[in-house]
Amino acid sequence: MGKMMFIDLTRCTACRGCQVACKQWKSLPGEATRNTGTHQNPPDLSFNTLKLVRFSEPKVDGKLHWLFFPDACRHCLEPPCMGQANLDDEGAVIQDEATGAVIFTDKIANADAEAVRTACPYDIPRPEKDGKMSSKCDFCIDRISNGMKPSCVHVCPTGCMNFGTEEEMRALAKTRLEEVKKHYPQATLGNDDVRVMYLFAVDPKNYSYNAVAEAAPTGPMTRREVFASLAGKPKA
């Protein structure tokens, strides 16, 4: 069965406790950034930022929404990154049997970092700046294999982030969807072939380009091109 996370976005206030708790638990260094006109900071996931709260301000049915999206690895039931990376080195990415966590090992250095990132339907893995490693969220495997919640779930003050068995989380997701539908008729659950399930108040594509696997824009730009343009956004 394994473990699962349920992220109820109708309860997220973007306090970014999860983002800081992740850095704190893993003792990852901060990044020098500058104001880009949004609270989304750092502007993107990186080798040292495994969890990021994304901010967006879309207009839905003529009304402005301020949406928050805690973004990190979804821990796919069948991870494409594992298939890709293990072509280069068997054991570069492993899946924990007990929890289902998808984990990059030291051998990830032998895999093609760019190919691993492209293989991810959610654009999560990030390469090391001056090295061969790639990194992403490891589901706090050290904590969860000792009966604790992942750092980001433990810290969440609003009940947005939840953690438990697959059965519990799927049941909770179903219950919450029914409840929030009363206030948000467009509410919907994200992909269910992953171990991090989201509940969106409005159409997921309003939250982030990588909110759901199908969120790739259908315009002339590919998902990767869109991302490249975002990352290279001129400084405000």
Binding site: C15, R16, G17, Q19, V20, A21, K23, Q24, W25, G91, I94, Q95, D96, E97, A98, T99, I103, T105, D106, K107, I141, D142, R143, S145, N146, G147, M148, S151, H154, V155, C156, P157, T158
Partner: protein, 191 residues
């Protein structure tokens, strides 16, 4: 007997070294298996209260039993009635209050008119503060106001802070201020 979460942690800490090597389906490289061992093995847990805001969230501080005995982790206390383990972004970064290379390890002093800060000793700083407070208090102390009423106060000094003090510490602090004759005393005394 119900096992509290903290007791549970103590229980599991002993089991870590075994489970760390058996938890995964395939054998891991030693470096990876090492990473799976909880960082607060061989630590002492102390409870404290967050100093940042009026909510007063409970925290657990894990201090290393070996080495320099510094804190290795700070996280929300699941048994605390206020926050039940949760924290905001500032509270979650609490460990950096103590473990932070960007913070000056000693008091810094900039003399009047000087452009540069310089590092000074705590003893010197305490003595200097005491000396200046006494000098100012003696110079400005008023026994009677314009109507001839006894006031015994000094109005040229104010006290502001500190948010990191709890209720009892605040009592002692304001008692000292009032003994000196201060009347402008303010504090974020909400925790």
């Amino acid at each position: 007997m119900p096992v509290s979460r903290r007791t549970f942690l103590k229980f599991t800490a002993g089991a870590v070294s075994c489970s760390a090597f058996t938890g995964l389906g395939i054998s891991l490289a030693p470096a990876m298996a090492q990473a799976e061992i909880l960082k607060f093995q061989k630590t002492t847990i102390t409870t404290t209260v967050c100093c940042y805001c009026a909510v007063g969230c409970g925290l657990l501080v894990h201090t290393a039993d070996e080495g320099k005995g510094r804190s290795v982790n700070v996280e929300g206390d699941p048994d605390h009635p206020v926050n039940e383990g949760a924290l905001c972004a500032k509270g979650a970064a609490m460990r950096q209050m103590a473990e932070n290379k960007a913070r000056p390890p000693k008091p810094m002093y900039r003399a009047a008119g000087a452009k540069e800060w310089k590092e000074v000793e705590w003893d010197w700083a305490y003595a200097e503060i005491a000396k200046r407070v006494k000098a100012e208090r003696d110079a400005s102390f008023t026994l009677k106001n314009s109507k001839g009423e006894t006031v015994n106060r000094t109005e040229t000094m104010v006290s502001l802070g500190s948010a990191a003090l709890d209720n009892e510490e605040c009592w002692s602090y304001q008692a000292i201020q009032r003994a000196l004759g201060l009347v402008h005393i303010e504090h974020q005394a909400r925790i």
